[in-house]
Symmetry: C2
Subunit: 470 residues, 2 copies
């Protein structure tokens, strides 16, 4: 049998594997910590290293675009304008490394032990971003890309993607595509490669309750004026029932009942409740009645107090009635909830519960929807097939409880869905000391992505429901 | 009619009034701020000034006793061991003066304008303490004291009387007396001299609720573990009904219903609800149903959250499930409540309400009872008569919502009641800029106290119910 173009591309990749690892090591040596101002030049150095490497790979059009913060690297390789275009997103900035003394190897001196690569950024996200790059190169240096690829690599993901949304809005033409692919998520577990098809959204609100003009002597005034801390506590307490279900009217409007498909997908996963509990360190798990733990964190909206404070919080004692009480609240939303309506309901609930013995100030925060990539989307099925080809096993379908704002921006600004196809393992210490990446998944992941590129060749503009095998 | 001994004493006082004011000015110039370490020598200087001045007044036995903190001044003038002995308490330390720029005159450069003396400590408590001293002197320099007097002046009242209780326990013999008199309280209002016959007690407890081992990502874990902030809020919310009545079982055990006497006393007071509200700056007053504002703050126990905190309280947003939540709680108690039982009930309530999805740590604080000096006590009636003699008007009977721990110590360690007979006005800016003292009350107060000494001559050891006129 004659080798296919894909075989040739994968064979090119295999021949250069050692070189790729050496280059990744070089990339990981750049301490591109976006949060620390003294590393500003390092962040730029990483951007420029990346742009140069994209050009070497054969991407014809590459730019380092300045923002008000750290730069954005843009690349474009157009093969054939009639073919599908995929926008690859990743970030080249990394988290700070504190506490440094807990690292067994220096964070910016990449070290391989037992086929595991230790370095800050190894899994989050330089390693995964680099897999995208070499998967592209293996095609560019052989038969040429089977689809059009665009690259969007930012340097501010770890500080909240401050300038990304504006950049995307400003560069809609450049970024026009049929699909976004992100490799910045974990597999479900070791040996369980997964396609992530759902993310929760986020809506936030801050509350300030003011009572007296200043803290009052609790002996002189206690019993005759409302205490803002009590008012805040009573509002927060009313927000959930005893099983953690949110009591705010209409909060669950739009939430889909768990589908048969979700049920089936989740039941196939090797989920260990005890292990999850141990990860939290809580005495017991807890949550809305009638749902499993995975269902609770993936498919149900939640409301959490992220912070609250009032009065005297120092050492010792101050017998006062505090003049103010504050809370920061965030909701994780699921697809088909209306984030703005959710905030309206939360705010109305707070207003209704707040007595006129105090004053209330509410600050409305962001309101981003949850996102869902249809399981029957062409890209989802292509990813499943690519995983099967390389891992020789069925892909798991997972969702995530967290939020990735750029997915919402891709949806709302560019009008495209996002395929989340990551190869990190959940316990590879992203954001913590001794971050690492299993090179087995670096290898298989790069080959899975290279395979995906060829499978996406037949995707039509709508993503549609076409069978990837057809 | 021949002048009585009291006339002679008051006449001596009158002759020296200008001198006394000059001396008080000297005393007020010493910046005896107990809270600020750099003023330690000033605090001692004030103690020594006071000890010297007591000796000059004719008090035979005077000591400056060291403590682990600021010194205590002790004085003793025994006239006749068969006569009643009164222990006079006061404090010579003062509050810090910040914000200094709000003072219209330097805080330690006493200034008289319109018969009002402006200085830190003028009303709280150097001015009032000094009235006790000159009232004693006016007798000591004339006919001799009609009773035995002991003086206990501390330098740590403004920092919580850190070493006073131990000192009293260690010096029970020295401090043996039939009655304590304190002039560190306000009159009810200008022109309304008052005897304070009740104080609230204080019981405190701190709560710490722990959930996960550390703050958790609210996307990854939100919905599956209990949030300590929610648990704390629900416990605090359950502590009161909507009208501010404490919902903790047995909390009101031992609380006396409002007596006819209390009703009558309070109804005579010129209390302005609007003025009280304005003092607080709250939008509305609020409190337990069926009671007036004065009844609420003077005769009803309360429970207040003095501080609470959990999670992220900085600028911006951190979408976490906090790993801990804390609250500092204090109860103001009224006479005949059992403070220790109140704390037991509060703690039991918290335990009962705390689910096993989190861990609870409770730190039990102090538990001091409320105090009540019987209205028919000989000393109370003597004070009323002294006020009538000097102010030519009926004394008001008031209670106070605050707590004065030394009153509890006098009761529990020395076994004596305390007469609270203060001459400050409620709006003389104790603890604030531009503290002042109305010299009209400095004059009348000193004469009232001098009169009281002679009226107490006939008090028996029990205080009893004997009529002061008999």
């Amino acid at each position: 049998m004659e080798p296919t173009e894909r075989d040739t591309a994968l064979s090119y990749y295999k021949d250069h594997q050692q070189e790729y690892l050496r280059e990744l090591t070089e990339f990981l040596q750049i301490p591109s910590i976006s949060a620390i101002p003294s590393h500003q030049a390092d962040v730029r150095r990483a951007a420029e290293w990346l742009a140069k490497r994209l050009k070497q790979a054969g991407v014809p059009r590459v730019r380092v675009d300045d923002t008000q913060g750290h730069p954005i690297v843009f690349g474009e390789a157009i093969t054939d304008r009639t073919k599908p275009t995929v926008l690859v997103y990743g970030h080249y900035d990394v988290q700070p490394v504190d506490p440094l003394e807990q690292w067994t190897h220096p964070p910016f001196s990449p070290t391989v032990i037992d086929n595991i690569l230790y370095a800050r950024g190894a899994s989050d996200d330089k390693g995964q971003l680099y897999m995208q790059l070499i998967a592209a190169e293996s095609w560019l240096k052989t038969a040429g890309l089977p689809i059009n690829l665009k690259f969007l690599f930012e340097g501010e993901e770890e500080i909240g993607s401050v300038h990304l949304s504006q950049y995307i809005t400003d560069h809609q033409q450049d970024l026009k595509a049929d699909l976004a692919v992100i490799s910045d998520t974990p597999m479900f577990a070791a040996g369980v490669p997964a396609v992530c098809y759902g993310l929760r959204g986020l809506a936030t609100v801050d509350i300030e309750i003011s009572g007296p003009r200043q803290d009052l002597h609790s002996g002189v005034f206690g019993g005759a004026v409302a205490n803002p801390a009590h008012v805040l506590a009573s509002i927060i307490a009313a927000m959930h029932d005893e099983h953690g279900r949110v009591s705010i009217p209409e909060f669950y409007d739009g939430v889909d009942p768990l589908s048969e498909e979700d049920h089936r997908n989740f039941s196939l996963l090797p989920f260990d409740e005890q292990e999850f509990l141990q990860q939290t360190g809580s005495p017991r798990l807890f949550g809305e009645k009638g749902y499993t733990t995975l269902e609770r964190v993936w498919t149900r909206p939640t409301l959490e107090v992220n912070g609250m404070w009032s009065g005297f919080i120092g050492e010792g004692r101050k017998t006062i009635i505090p003049h103010k009480a504050h809370a920061k609240i965030s909701c994780r939303l699921v697809p088909h909830q209306n984030p703005s309506a959710v905030l309206d309901n939360v705010i109305q609930f707070i207003r209704n519960r707040c007595p006129d013995t105090v004053e209330l100030r509410i600050e409305r925060g962001e309101a981003d929807p949850g996102t869902l990539t249809p399981l029957n989307h062409f890209a989802t099925q292509a990813a499943v097939k690519a995983i099967e080809d390389i891992y020789h096993q069925k892909a798991a379908f997972i969702r995530m409880g967290g939020s990735i704002p750029v997915v919402v921006t891709f949806d709302q600004v560019l009008g495209i869905p996002t395929l989340l196809l990551g190869f990190a393992l959940p316990d590879e210490n992203f954001h913590a000391p001794n971050e690492h990446f299993h090179l087995e998944n670096f290898d298989k992941g790069a080959r899975t992505i290279a395979t995906l590129w060829s499978l996406l060749e037949n995707m039509d503009g709508q993503g549609g429901t076409a069978d990837v095998n057809s």
